[in-house]
């Protein structure tokens, strides 16, 4: 199940292609970073939507030239304590101008949602608990932020500076 940044729950209608599966002619698919590297030429020929699953060990620089080809990039949190994907997300959004869907997968927990959304994620792979426990509330727990982040929420330094103008 997917939780979307506005709190809506949604279903995942993408097909996540295994590395051994043949590339279908039609339909929205995601491929692994390894598959993207080997089959980039074939994937270019398709017209349907393409998504990428980027492991948290790969720097976003590696796909800097290609971000516009993807409608979805899935970043992974193997454990919620492993925060490498926050940096990947932020760089994709700010330095490499990625505008598509950015999805958090793996060990995605309620109390990390706020950090993820701030870094530019806008969809989150969650389990049944998310409904029962109303995880969408996690997005609204703060409205004061001390840093500039890809979510473009006002941040305190700018707010203070503009107040005095």
């Amino acid at each position: 199940m997917l939780l979307v940044e506005d709190g809506r729950l949604s279903v995942d209608d993408w097909r996540h292609l295994g590395d051994d599966e043949p590339i279908p002619a039609n339909g929205a698919i995601t491929v692994s970073f390894a598959r993207w590297q080997t089959d980039e030429a074939v994937l270019h020929l398709r017209t349907d939507k393409l998504g990428l699953r980027l492991p948290n060990t790969i720097a976003p620089q590696e796909i800097a030239e290609d971000v516009s080809r993807f409608s979805l990039i899935i970043l992974n949190f193997p454990k919620f304590t492993d925060g490498r994907a926050y940096s990947q997300a932020r760089l994709l959004r700010t330095r490499f101008g990625y505008k598509g869907e950015l999805r958090a997968d793996g060990n995605v927990l309620r109390d990390q949602l706020m950090f993820m959304r701030r870094c530019g994620f806008n969809s989150f792979v969650v389990g049944e608990r998310a409904i029962k426990e109303d995880w969408a509330k996690a997005f609204g727990e703060f409205d004061v932020f001390y840093q500039l982040a890809p979510d473009h929420r006002p941040w305190v330094m700018r707010q203070r500076l503009s107040k005095h103008r």
């Binding site: 925060g83 940096s87 330095r95 426990e133 727990e141 409205d143 001390y146 203070r160």
Partner: protein
């Protein structure tokens, strides 16, 4: 001192509400202990040996009298009437109930305090010189920068799940009183040849299992670029720092394995690719934050120094206190006073609710309502007029806070040890108490001397930086102490070297006696122990320690 504005107030209130809901979910069984642990840790709550321990943040060690009174109230109402000041300039309460913690955080928020990020794998309390804003040798007050860094580091969206904890220290004076080189990231405030303010950035210090000193990776980062440069350092660490082994995940291990030069290159490349202007720190913003730290209106009436001199001459006990517990102030007629939390026989760093209230009252009366916590686990009254020192000393002495041992052998840094801490492998506190008792009679003759004791390898007691360091470990069910020699904090920071086989707990006092005897015999003039040690080498100390065994 810094006062919260509407944003800061709203933020801590939101934080308390969020935490209250997390505790509710935990108590309702919606969160497992495994899921709750990182949440409570982000609010400074540990599960210890006997109860929960709450670590309250004291940003850069600065407190108002109102805040200190609130801490006294919290210790009395929710704990056992005392707290423990730590080597991170924080306060720990060791007998806390989980159900009470949301209320405690709300009480803290009411006086512009919190416990955010006093634990967990993110930015910890940013520390600085306890004499900041008062020291005679200061280039500029470091506290505005510490406050700016504190805010930037609070719930940072990108860096709240780092490989391991991350500690930043700032020093802005000629003498480093903040032990900057033992931090993950250190900032020395510098002025370049054009007179502009910036920072020398050091990275990769830390104690624990692998003690290392931080190394300079950039001699001058302009103040305007502070955020972008810090983010570049953290991004390199977040990407490359090890996550497979808890003991190798601090930034110091990454810096060590890459080498400081290569690490610096990585940071530089990342920084060059960053949009620096987007997060530039404008001068007018620094000025705005700095205005909150403006010096109080010092009384310029001249102090009758001759009268003070006569009082000193007539009162040898006061003279000792003056010599050891006061330091030079930048304003004429003022002194910086350190209140020792190391009365002989007591637990280093412990402070009762009554003592907190007394100190708060004295701060109101004599120090513009300001108090500092020093990383050496003492309290500081930063601005005391010299003609009030005698009256102050008398009041402190009457309350059991008159110990004149700052920087001396009984001013021991010590972690809470196995009496409180679930990580500890030894009871460090009784060892510190016995040592202080044994050595205090001779401490004037011994001179400046730092003993630092840790009850486990994590080194909260900074044993590696002690002139003599003691590390308590469990050896087949027996507590033994490993001795390190020649450590030093500050400008001449050095990691102590292991002297040899560990000694039994009841042999520690005798062992220290032997080491001090060698030092007293070999030192030249005013030479401190680590200087003598560097000059003569380990051999004579080792011989004295182990020859007769």
């Amino acid at each position: 001192m810094y006062r919260y504005d509407e944003f800061d107030h709203r933020f801590v209130d939101e934080r308390v509400a969020q935490y209250r809901d997390q505790v509710r979910r935990r108590l309702a069984g919606q969160l497992s202990e495994d899921e709750f642990r990182p949440l409570r840790l982000m609010n400074g709550l540990y599960l210890q040996l006997h109860a929960y321990m709450l670590r309250i943040a004291i940003p850069y060690g600065m407190l108002s009298s109102k805040q200190l009174r609130k801490l006294a109230h919290i210790t009395r109402h929710y704990d056992r009437g005392y707290g423990h000041f730590t080597t991170r300039q924080n306060l720990q309460l060791h007998w806390i109930k989980l159900e009470d913690t949301p209320d405690i955080l709300a009480e803290l928020a009411s006086v512009e305090m919190h416990a955010i990020q006093t634990s967990g794998n993110s930015f910890r309390n940013t520390t600085t010189d306890a004499f900041a804003g008062a020291a005679a040798d200061e280039i500029e007050d470091p506290r505005p920068y510490a406050e700016i860094v504190r805010q930037w580091a609070t719930l940072h969206p990108e860096f709240s799940f780092l490989p391991r904890k991350f500690k930043i220290a700032i020093s802005a004076s000629a003498e480093d009183r903040a032990a900057v080189k033992m931090h993950d990231l250190g900032l020395y405030l510098r002025k370049n040849e054009k007179g502009e303010i910036g920072f020398e950035v050091l990275v990769g210090g830390g104690l624990g299992r692998t003690p290392l000193l931080a190394q300079t990776i950039k001699p001058f980062v302009a103040r305007r670029d502070l955020f972008s440069y810090l983010e570049a350092v953290l991004r390199v660490y977040n990407r490359y720092g090890r996550r497979d082994n808890l003991y190798k995940s601090r930034i110091k291990i990454l810096v060590q394995s890459l080498g400081a030069a290569k690490f610096a290159e990585e940071v530089e490349a990342e920084w060059q690719a960053t949009d620096r202007e987007a997060v530039a720190l404008p001068d007018n913003y620094v000025a705005e934050i700095a205005s909150a730290f403006e010096a109080p209106r010092f009384d310029a009436t001249p102090v009758d120094e001759r009268a003070l001199e006569r009082t000193i001459t007539a009162n040898p006990a006061f003279a000792r206190w003056m010599k050891h517990n006061t330091a030079a102030h930048k304003a004429p007629g003022y002194a910086i006073v350190t209140i020792s939390l190391k009365p002989v026989g007591q637990t280093p760093g412990d402070c009762s609710a009554e003592q907190m209230e007394l100190v708060a009252g004295l701060a109101d009366e004599l120090s513009f309502g300001e108090i500092r916590v020093a990383y050496e686990q003492n309290l500081v009254l930063p601005h005391v007029r010299r003609d009030q020192l005698f009256a102050l000393w008398q009041k402190l002495d009457a309350a059991g806070l008159g110990s004149s041992n700052i920087g001396l052998v009984s001013d021991i840094i010590c972690c809470p040890g196995m009496d409180y801490c679930s990580l500890a492998t030894a009871r460090s506190i009784p060892v510190a108490q016995r040592l202080a008792q044994h050595l205090s009679e001779r401490e004037d003759a011994i001179g400046r001397f730092n003993i630092k004791i840790s009850g486990c390898i994590n080194a909260c007691g900074h044993h590696h930086l002690g002139h003599i360091g003691l590390l308590g470990v469990d050896k087949n069910g027996e507590e033994v102490y490993q001795i390190t020699l020649g450590g030093d904090a500050g400008d001449n920071a050095a990691i102590g070297q292991i002297a040899g086989p560990a000694v039994k707990s009841d042999e520690v006092t005798g062992a220290i006696d032997k080491l001090i005897a060698v030092y007293e015999k070999l030192r030249q003039g005013e030479e401190r122990f680590p200087d003598t040690y560097r000059r003569v080498g380990q051999a004579p100390f080792k011989e004295a320690l182990y020859a007769a065994r």
